[in-house]
Symmetry: C2
Subunit: 320 residues, 2 copies
């Protein structure tokens, strides 16, 4: 890439607060920064997006993006980008790759430990001001030395592996070809499921992963086993089967950051599933989430201006 000395028009469609805006404004004095949430109308949003050289964020709708013929670089603020699958733009696209991996891994482990150590039940008792004490002890479980299958071998999977090593868990990865995976085919996975205490989906949303966790697999899970999902909700072939397994106690519980429908609608049966933690697609969140996005963008922008290769380039067609 050639070095770019000219001022850039940067359109920002990311829910930044004043502190991140101030940082960007003070760092990028020569460039024109346009924050979507400061524009009064859709007309102005569209015309600003169309003249932008660079776009930071996940713009909607897709057809606006497809008209952005001036765009040279799109920096997404997410890791996943299946919403843009197949979109053709003349710009390089980058994502946040493993940025959310540690928070996502922590949310899943927090959910598992809450179920195992009764934190959800003690929280309800606290709201009632009610002591049960010893009665509750005999239902508590340990994460120590549990057998865990992780679907996927990317960033979240690696961070989960690090955390679970502190609990001496036996961790097995399912992935087509990744080096650390020992389960490569659907048949391998089906054979391993009956022995697993915990199954954690970390897979991105692609054609190959949609419906990968089948009804047959849910039926093979043991009665104490937990199903967790921090990848994409459409990993589960039929969510109604999962819900039924939770309600009837065919499986031990679930920790779901992602679900077939998001937001989960009012009155949806998931809200009433026992032994289930619903973290509302917050897994990647943290107090420093937007600071980190702004910092990464500035770093990648420096590469862009110097004509160097950008970090985290992805292919919208391939899905990774």
């Amino acid at each position: 890439m050639a070095k770019r000395e000219t001022a850039m028009i940067i359109y920002i469609d990311t829910p930044f607060k004043e502190e991140q805006k101030t940082l960007l404004r003070s760092t990028l004095k020569a460039d024109e920064l346009i924050f979507k949430d400061e524009l009064p109308s859709d007309d102005e949003r569209l015309s600003s997006l169309l003249k932008a050289d660079i776009l930071l964020g996940n713009p909607k709708p897709v057809d606006w993006l497809q008209q952005a013929q001036n765009l040279k670089w799109l920096q997404l603020y997410s890791t996943g980008f299946e919403y843009y699958s197949g979109v053709k733009i003349p710009a390089v696209v980058t994502n946040m790759k493993a940025y959310y991996a540690q928070p996502c891994a922590e949310t899943i482990v927090a959910g598992i430990m809450a179920l195992y150590r009764g934190i959800d039940k003690y929280d309800t008792l606290k709201s009632q001001g009610r002591w049960v004490g010893y009665q509750a002890r005999e239902k508590l479980q340990l994460l120590f030395q549990k057998k865990v299958i992780i679907l996927g071998a990317g960033g979240i999977a690696k961070h989960l592996g690090n955390i679970l090593s502190g609990f001496d868990c036996g961790v097995t990865f399912f992935a087509r070809s990744a080096g650390e995976a020992t389960l490569h085919t659907i048949e391998d996975l089906e054979k391993a499921i009956p022995d697993a205490d915990i199954i954690i989906g970390t897979l991105p949303g692609t054609k190959e992963t949609a419906g990968l966790f089948t009804t047959a697999m849910i039926n093979k899970m043991n009665a104490d086993a937990l199903f967790c999902n921090i990848g994409r909700g459409n990993l589960v072939e039929d969510e109604a089967v999962l819900i039924d397994a939770l309600i009837t106690g065919k499986i031990g519980g679930a920790v779901l950051d992602v679900t077939a429908r998001e937001p989960i609608p009012e009155g949806h049966p998931l809200w009433d599933c026992p032994n289930t933690i619903l973290t509302q697609h917050s897994g990647g969140g943290s107090t420093t989430e937007y600071d980190g996005i702004a910092a990464f963008f500035l770093e990648n922008l420096e590469r862009f201006k110097q004509g160097n290769r950008l970090k985290n380039v992805v292919d919208l067609a391939k899905g990774y």
Copy 2:
């Protein structure tokens, strides 16, 4: 110790279920087993206790135990035994030592992660069937690389250290002389507190530990820091100060398995403390808790009968 061939009278004051009773009865056919919960009156309980050679459990009241002149061995089912402090009996006393260390460590980490990842708040939202989604993300924190002070260097502290290594935490131990501790005096501890993200009490209940965590220390904690206690409730010099710090947001939160008063009375201000997880002295619990106690007792009983030294001998006067 001499080998004992004669049948023993074993009095059992431990809340076993039928499965553990069956195991003990089938293993110890030659001995006389008396289960306290099967006796109809206090008179029978006292007379059975007084004729026992061996006692498994934590008998109350203390003066019954002091009359048990036939007793040769008392196997407690707990780790702590401050209730028996200074009791004089002619028998060897053993406890469960580090048996509860892993479950206790897991309960504290589960509570910390629940606060950091919002699990308590998502649980409340689930009970209301209410989606907030992204709004909740910016308040979430990470356990990754947090600075942790652990008060104590015994079993729970070691297991906490193992778990926290998976989160790349910086862990510092406070103990008078233990090798892994770097904080030895109250002054060392006071100096370290302002930098800590998490402080975890794991100390047993002795004269030295009562009130060790002072009001001055609470006042030195930073505004995001968590106070956790899995040792004994009387570690905190003045629980009202801790409660005030939680209500006013002077500290970030608390995970309390133990408290000054247990059970926590109805209407007690602890029930209404924000960012607080109360696990009701269940930290040691697990589905296999009583199986493990029965198995350890049988193992130690074999040593007793063979005249070998018992495992986990403690000194009621010294408190360890």
